[in-house]
């Protein structure tokens, strides 16, 4: 976060090499828009207007196209976000299983609303649409990465404590019901 602020948005030689490798995978440059946006988000932490402009000029494609793609996907962050982005699902299944309770609990705990970032730049909360884990509702996703399933207040507490020490939650293996032994 601190690094991002002083960074001017440019790709260095190594980046351009990587981007060329990405471009080589596709028949048209336009197809490389998404992976290059990912690459940029990995580097800068977000793809705001300046980064979109950088991606467009680097790939030599219309900026409006990059903007359209970036705004289509919620996983691309269009503004600076906290180090850990908590995407709390409030879609149908999670909603009926208490998704909003979990969201509000996190909001109260961190003292920010959904769509905001904590002043220390550590956490952002987003209200997300279905993340395809209805069987484990309610759930959230940490920075486009780990799913935290079957949320409870205790689980959230330990997750946030862990993240404060930069410890990502473990991947959870959840078996389908028929494979879970009844005893």
């Amino acid at each position: 976060m601190q690094i991002n602020k002083i960074m001017s948005y440019t790709f260095d030689k190594e980046d351009l090499k990587q981007i060329d490798a990405i471009k080589a995978k596709y028949p048209t440059v336009q197809s490389a828009t998404m992976p290059v946006l990912w690459y940029a988000q990995d580097k800068f932490g977000h793809v705001n207007a300046e980064v979109q402009h950088l991606v467009a000029t680097t790939l030599d494609i219309p900026e409006s196209h990059v903007h359209g793609v970036a705004t289509f996907y919620t996983q691309y962050y269009k503004k600076e976000m906290g180090k850990y982005v908590l995407d709390v699902c409030t879609c149908f299944s999670c909603q009926v299983c208490g998704g909003y309770d979990m969201l509000h609990y996190i909001e109260d705990k961190l003292g920010i609303k959904a769509g905001e970032t904590t002043p220390d730049g550590k956490f952002s909360i987003q209200e997300a649409e279905c993340l395809g884990a209805c069987g484990y509702a309610p759930m959230l996703q940490v920075t486009n990465d780990v799913y935290v399933n079957h949320l409870t207040k205790e689980k959230i507490d330990s997750m946030i404590d862990g993240l404060k020490e930069d410890k990502l939650p473990e991947y959870e293996e959840i078996l389908p019901p028929q494979l879970i032994s009844k005893d």
């Binding site: 207007a49 219309p62 409006s64 196209h65 903007h67 359209g68 289509f72 996907y73």
Partner: protein, 577 residues
């Protein structure tokens, strides 16, 4: 010839194509939003869904399967198909809303979905009255909405660019505007942003939508999402009348419609002409309405004590006659103009050569680099070619200066010679300068006598574009001396037909006191013992076509039916050969 059956009626076609345009071209109706004949086909609005079936081909017998009556067995696609993207094929059977309940239901349901988040602000929306969404909802839509929840709110009144305003809530995401910037103007400035029910077209991150053709997106927008900043809230469309005309701001001769209310041209829109401009026109051409409305010369003006004052038409005629009589006609410089029509230039030249003056000349107005190879041309005047074909000598700026220096009397038609810096006040000092013009400008200010003439919106006259195509205008605005009620060629809107002078929502104030050049000179002719008598541009063009070879066989009827006529000039001959 392959045939296609639409609603139990048989049609034959010889050129392959899509089903929707075929239906529309044959006078039948089918609602659609996203389809546009000059753009790619995304089939995203789903409004043109129809039932489509094809005859079943039996490979074993190498023939079509038939039923017990000997009729071909038709197998229908399991789902409704979009007519806009479906290629026609021999024996295809199409059922539209005329014959299919399923299609009627689909049209109704699609519209209900489109209207879920569409604001019901037709009463304050500029598109109302010419809105496909409004029209089709009346014709095919559900009678009410079952959607009782809060509609999605999106950005409103966004100034996308200098000329286009966006209301994202009204947008139905047909992507016509996006496709226009990708396929026609090729600036790629627009894209659909965000997704789901929150999406709308926009430029990238607050960039300006300053495409030189941006206003075409307003024309093709099937709802009121994109509106023209200039025209917003000026008039309801049904209050205006619509007159076909020609763009006079450059040499391309883009076909346009003038929209007039209370004798003011409120907007220009492109008129389809596949030979010239297709469905499009440049933004700069739409500014022409200012030329038609603003700063017009009304009533002749004469210079008294270095000050132009209004005078009578009789005085104007008498003054010109006296000027001619007082000078050697050899010393008169007669300057025509690419900014005036063929008719005006012809009569102007005919009148003054008959008096013994030298043949009219003109100074072409070409700005290198102003053209873009599409609808903008280097040539700034609408009728440069016309002047050339009339045999006018084309001056360069230098030869014009020389000619000007030699003359004692200068008669100028429409050309803003001072504004174009062809001459300055000193060059004109000591000369008798008569200006025939439409608008007040620096040239009219320096004239001894100013004769107000009709502009392209006030007379029917023709212009020859850079490609040698002659096309004509129709009178759209009344002058003090013309009337829609008696000139049957002028179009009338509801206000013109049903309004009275007592209505406070309409006015007769905007009529300009001017005359067509041919009419003024015809009135002046007897005073100088000349015979010249033209009442209309049509008569003048008849004279032109019979006396100038390049215009042979051209008349208004031919121009009207053939969307302009390509004249046989050396260049066009070369092209066809």
């Amino acid at each position: 010839m392959p045939e296609i059956i639409i609603d139990d009626k048989k049609f034959t076609y010889d050129t392959p194509g899509k089903v929707l345009p075929f239906i529309l071209d044959h006078g039948m109706d089918l609602p659609f939003f996203c389809y546009h004949p000059s753009l790619s086909i995304p089939a995203n609005c789903r409004q043109c869904l129809v039932e489509i079936g094809t005859p079943v081909f039996d490979r074993a017998t190498n023939s079509f399967k038939t039923d017990e009556n000997g009729e071909k067995v038709i197998q229908f696609f399991p789902k409704l198909m979009t007519a806009c993207s479906q290629d026609m094929s021999d024996g295809m059977v199409v059922k539209t809303h005329v014959s299919s309940e399923k299609v009627r239901r689909a049209q109704k349901d699609t519209l209900e979905f489109i209207l879920v988040n569409h604001p019901l602000d037709c009463p304050i929306c500029d598109q109302a009255g010419e809105c496909p969404l409004q029209i089709q909802t009346y014709k095919y839509g559900p009678e009410g909405s079952r959607f009782e929840y809060k509609k999605v709110h999106k950005p409103k009144r966004i100034q996308l660019g200098p000329r286009v305003v966006l209301d994202a809530e009204r947008c139905i995401n047909c992507t016509r505007c996006v496709r226009f910037t990708h396929e026609i103007s090729k600036t790629y400035q627009l894209s659909i942003v965000s997704r789901g029910d929150k999406n709308y077209p926009s430029t990238a991150n607050g960039k300006e939508f300053d495409d030189a053709y941006s206003l075409n997106t307003v024309d093709i927008c099937p709802v009121g999402a994109l509106t023209q900043a200039d025209f917003r809230f000026k008039a309801r469309v049904w209050e205006m009348n619509q007159t076909p005309s020609i763009d006079i701001t450059n040499g391309k001769g883009t076909n346009v419609d003038l929209w007039v209310r209370d004798n003011l041209v409120l907007r220009l829109t492109p008129r389809h002409n596949p030979h010239v401009n297709d469905y499009w026109m440049p933004d700069s051409s739409r500014e022409a309405y200012r030329l038609f409305n603003e700063n017009r010369i009304s009533r002749p003006e004469i210079k008294l004590d270095k000050e132009l004052v209004k005078t009578s038409w009789n005085n104007a005629k008498e003054t010109i006659a006296e000027i001619i009589e007082a000078h050697d006609t050899k010393e008169v410089l007669v300057l025509g103009s690419g900014y005036a029509s063929v008719e005006e230039n012809f009569v102007f030249n005919q009148f003054f050569t008959a008096l013994g003056c030298g043949k009219a000349s003109f100074v072409p107005h070409v700005v290198e680099g102003a053209g873009d190879g599409f609808l903008l041309t280097d040539d700034q005047a609408p009728n440069t070619k016309g002047c050339e074909l009339l045999g006018f000598r084309a001056h360069t700026n230098r030869t014009f200066k020389n000619a000007l220096a030699k003359a004692t009397v200068v008669v100028v038609l429409a050309e803003d010679i001072v504004g174009r810096e062809l001459a300055n006040a000193e060059d004109l000092a000591g000369k008798t300068f008569v200006y025939f013009g439409t608008n007040n400008n620096t040239t009219s200010k320096d004239a001894q006598l100013v004769v107000p003439i009709t502009c392209a919106a006030e007379h029917a006259a023709s212009y020859v574009n850079v490609d040698g195509r002659i096309q004509r205008t129709f009178a759209a605005k009344e002058t003090v001396y013309t009337s829609r009620a008696t000139n049957l060629e002028m179009s009338t809107g509801r206000l013109d037909r049903f309004g009275t002078k007592f209505d406070n929502w309409r006015t007769d104030k905007n009529k300009v006191d001017c005359l067509p050049v041919w009419e003024f000179l015809s009135e002046l002719a007897p005073r100088l013992n000349q015979t010249l008598s033209y009442e209309t541009g049509k008569e003048v063009l008849t004279a032109v076509s019979s006396s100038v070879d390049a215009f042979a066989g051209v008349d208004y009827d031919k121009m009207d039916t053939e969307m302009g006529v390509v004249l046989s000039t050396p260049e066009t001959e070369e092209k066809t050969a």
